[in-house]
Subunit: 211 residues, 2 copies
């Protein structure tokens, strides 16, 4: 009896927790992390504020958990897109496309993850997130260089530049709109793929005595 009661309680707890995180994801997607309040979260999840605090002791704890969940999904989707066989440039194109499609579909969530000014605890998560992206792009580029599909290059540098280019150019800031807001999502994704494939492929500097 005691065991079954515990199992039921556990299942119930997991369900409420899931509901809270879904509500948080929706809120962040609308207003960014800055627009999240414990009151709005409790309302969105259909629970009392006191109950919410029993699941997450603070807004920051909840946001850190949400940040981890959301970024893990992005990373997994891009990794999966690049796992299928192909040359490095094809993998890179698929990965950047997946990144762009998901970012542009997620509304304000992508901006919140990538660029919204955050509390220090979340900034730490974001540094980890950007480091993960650097590793992902670096792995593909390094394999391409090893296979002779890409010219030799400082791989870690290239990977960091890709992380920065995607973070700044794919998702416009809602506060300071880019002058290119008229670019459609499709055009924006194509521009990302072109920019990055050119950057990793070219030998312009070498040709023109820049290096």
């Amino acid at each position: 009896m005691a065991y079954r009661a515990t199992a039921r309680t556990e299942a119930r707890r997991a369900e409420v927790r899931e509901r809270i995180l879904r509500s948080a994801r929706a809120l962040v997607g609308e207003r960014g992390f800055a627009g999240v309040s414990m009151l709005a979260l409790a309302r969105g999840a259909g629970i009392a504020t006191g109950t919410l605090y029993r699941y997450f002791p603070s807004k920051t704890d909840l946001c850190v958990e949400l940040f981890r969940l959301a970024t893990r999904r992005e990373v997994e989707a891009v990794r999966a897109a690049m796992a299928a066989p192909g040359v490095a440039t094809a993998k890179l194109a698929r990965g950047v496309e997946m990144y762009g499609e998901r970012a542009l579909r997620s509304g304000r969530l992508a901006y919140a993850l990538i660029a919204e000014p955050l509390a220090p605890e979340l900034e730490t998560e974001r540094l980890r997130y950007r480091a993960t992206w650097r590793e992902i792009w670096a792995a593909v580029i390094a394999a391409g260089v090893d296979a002779g599909e890409l010219p030799p290059q400082p791989v870690a540098f290239t990977a960091a530049a890709i992380v920065g280019a995607l973070a700044e150019a794919v998702v416009p800031s809602p506060e300071v709109p880019h002058s290119d807001v008229t670019l459609s999502s499709r055009a924006r994704i194509e521009a990302s793929v072109n920019f990055i494939l050119n950057a990793v492929n070219g030998n312009y500097g070498v040709e023109h005595g820049q290096s």
Copy 2:
């Protein structure tokens, strides 16, 4: 007499203000904005804390002023490097080189301006700063496209991608060092120029049916 006294007072005020800002610049260059305190600033400028507050009512006011001053200098140096005649790619190479040289010479100051997590008032300054960089790169690229020196491209998008690539790759974060910390400053600047010239010049996507 009254006039001369006022002129002397003004000159004295300007001198103290200048000294405070120099002290602030040195502090940020060592510890970032997070390491700045009114006490340390007053000590650095050789004045009492009370006097410091008469010049800058808060640490944030002072940091905003410093942010503006420091970024204006960066922007002017890069603009000047690109003002001399030349084709778009040569200007771009000169501009990126100047950006990289100054950033890598300034120690932690460049990281503080570009990427250190900041108070919201400073984040607003940074958004303006990044918008200014986008305009600067966009102007050079647009002129190059118009002159037929660069292939047609979504200029505002390209400019934003350059801002992001430079921000992420040129100046490593002191908290989470890149895996490419062994890259020398010279190699890092060359890598930046190559990455960006390739990105704006190439037609890889078009050639390979990516666009």
